[in-house]
Amino acid sequence: MNEGLLSELKKQGIFVTSLQELYNWGRLNSIWPLQFGLACCAIEMIATAASRYDLARFGGEVFRPSPRQADLIIVAGTVTKKMAPQVVRLYNQMPDPKYVIAMGACAISGGPFKQGYNVLKGIDRYIPVDVYIPGCPPRPEALLHAFMELQRKIEEQRLTGAGKADHLEASLPSEFPVPAFGEHDLQPPANPALFRPPAVERN
């Protein structure tokens, strides 16, 4: 249905929508994040949820203490190699549809601790990330921005046909292998199905 007709109908008091729009509108205004923080970014996340920045204005107020009830995991802080399997396990325990925000430099790439022996160099090595927020730590405004970006992403997800949302695609996995503790590093060091770093070509 074209936009002009929709707008004309609306003026006459008739609201027309599609099931997909209605469904996505409901989902994007009620994203329940997992109550889960790892380092200093978690403090910014708490500030975002509290009264001054108030994530509730965008429908994200209900931080759930259980992954079974959460739609979104905000990876807020440094993921150590010892913690990484637990983060992947929490992600696996979340019901579909589920989304991931990598908050801050550490969750994206290891950040200032990238060369450390104990720090995972980005959570995208094991779970798919929807929105990355740079910053060390990002300010609450940045987290709100990421949250709104995620809402935009959800709004555009299709329910049927080619190119429908990943969680509706039965052939795509919704759980990812949990890395094991190896003798020198996590095994495997990255999930090759997910993590495809760009080939660096230099002289």
């Binding site: 022996y117 104990n118 003798e183 020198h184 060091p189 660096v200 070509e201």
Partner: protein, 223 residues
């Protein structure tokens, strides 16, 4: 608090057979320390804690140090005969010091409000002889810190009630704070590498395609 020399003399008197050495500190901190031999450590430390004038009842800090094998070259003046004439010349003298692991304890007295007395324990070497007595039976506060040193440096503390890794996972076999530790290679993607990281990242760089000039011709054709 009495001087370190006096503490050393009294401790050696109280614990027969103990050898204690004063390690000077040339840095601005000027905080010399006591090196205690491993066989008499517990007796000496118990003396430091129980002695009425010292009463070092609090161990605030335990640190590990890794000393690699090192070679020190010093110049020594030697008198030799050159052309029938006695002359003083400088000769390099090379000394080899084998490496060892070390723990440093900072002891304070809360009762008498003085401290710290710094004590050191040294292992025989960096390979098989990495054994030291644990001070946890005397100072409970050393328990977690000795576990951390065991985890990161690999010193085995005898007499420790629960010597397990505390930071790294149990399956881990390395000791990351040792100076010869090499971290696992996950340098496959480094956007802006430099120094050591650059050297290691280079191992992952894709090989440049061999160019024969044909690609320039193709570019010319397309304008």
């Amino acid at each position: 608090m009495e001087s370190l020399e006096r503490i050393k003399a009294r401790a050696e008197e109280a614990v027969p057979g103990a050898t204690i050495k004063i390690i000077p500190n040339a840095s601005p901190a000027n905080q010399p320390s006591l090196l205690i031999d491993s066989d008499h450590t517990l007796a000496v430390v118990q003396f430091l804690r129980n002695d009425a004038a010292l009463r070092l009842d609090f161990c605030s800090n335990v640190t590990g140090v890794d000393w690699l094998d090192r070679t020190v070259t010093t110049k020594v003046k030697v008198k030799t005969l050159i052309d029938g004439e006695e002359k003083e010349i400088e000769q390099p003298q090379v000394e080899n010091f084998p490496g060892y692991l070390e723990t440093v304890y900072h002891l304070y007295s809360i009762a008498l409000k003085h401290g710290p007395v710094v004590i050191r324990l040294r292992t025989a070497d960096r390979a098989d002889g990495v054994h030291l007595p644990s001070l946890t039976p005397v100072y409970r506060s050393a328990e977690f810190q000795e576990r951390e040193i065991f985890d990161l440096y690999g010193i085995r503390f005898h007499g420790h009630p629960d010597l397990r890794r505390i930071l790294m996972w149990d399956e881990f076999v390395d000791h990351p704070m040792r100076k010869d530790y090499r971290e696992p290679d996950d340098y496959e993607y480094e956007p802006t590498p430099h120094d050591e990281v650059l050297e290691r990242a280079k191992e992952h760089y894709a090989a440049r395609p061999q160019l024969d000039g044909a690609e320039n011709l193709a570019a010319d054709e397309h304008g």
